[in-house]
């Protein structure tokens, strides 16, 4: 990490968006962009198009590698975008519907770079960070497999 206000965390506790957004703020910046992902109630099966109602989710990670991959993403984002600080926190374990699964906060001197970097980070996180989501339905459960 280039700066000690960057951070990556995996936690089994609820994530407070405000505290994530606030930890990335340096005094020379005026804006932070935050992506807040959460457990949605309805998901569409990509193969069948069928909409199912999720009861809850379980996230599992290869924890040391997940932290390393998140740190790599931050390093790469800081090389490619004019941003100051990045914080990424991912929740693990059981999540009720509506609970936050991931928060990515990016502070930058200019808003545009923060928006672009935050959007890039969530896209890459979903492709490379070894975390898996299990959707639990009334009548079964499935580990979601990504598209990478």
């Amino acid at each position: 990490m280039d700066s000690n206000t960057d951070f990556t965390e995996l936690t089994t506790h609820p994530i407070d968006i405000t505290s994530v957004a606030r930890r990335v703020v340096p005094p020379e910046c005026g804006a932070t962009v935050t992506l807040d992902g959460y457990a949605r109630r309805f998901t569409k099966d990509k193969a069948t198009g069928e909409v199912r109602e999720t009861e809850y989710l379980v996230y599992e990670a290869y924890e040391p590698m997940a932290l390393k991959e998140m740190e790599k993403l931050i390093g790469q984002a800081k090389r490619e975008f004019e941003i100051a600080n990045v914080g990424i926190v991912h929740r693990l374990g059981k999540l009720e519907i509506g609970e936050t699964s991931v928060v990515i906060s990016v502070a930058s001197p200019h808003r545009r770079a923060a928006f672009a970097a935050c959007e890039w980070l969530i896209k890459e996180l979903k492709k490379t960070v070894p975390i898996w989501k299990k959707e639990v339905f009334a009548d079964g459960e499935v580990w979601v497999e990504g598209e990478a």
Partner: protein, 79 residues
């Protein structure tokens, strides 16, 4: 050669374990390892598998070294 092999999510369910210690001959690759595991756990073959060696992504053809930590998992779905 001995390896620790880690499984997560769908692969842990398929293997029925989150961690195995396997003993294979020198020069084995991650793919070779999976072929051996698939004999005992045929549902592994239902998944497109990814590999990591010592916490770094690796293709399945890399030759393993004694003591490597191997992880076998499906395409990630965090976020």
């Amino acid at each position: 050669m001995k390896f620790q092999v880690l499984f997560f999510g769908a692969t842990a369910d398929a293997v029925g374990s989150r961690e195995l210690v396997l003993d294979v001959e020198d020069g084995a690759t991650a793919k070779f390892l999976i072929e051996r595991l698939s004999k005992d756990h045929p549902s592994l073959a239902n998944h497109k598998l990814l590999f990591a060696v010592n916490e770094e992504y690796s293709d399945g053809d890399a030759i393993l070294n004694d003591g490597d930590e191997i992880a076998v998992f499906t395409a990630v779905s965090g976020g």
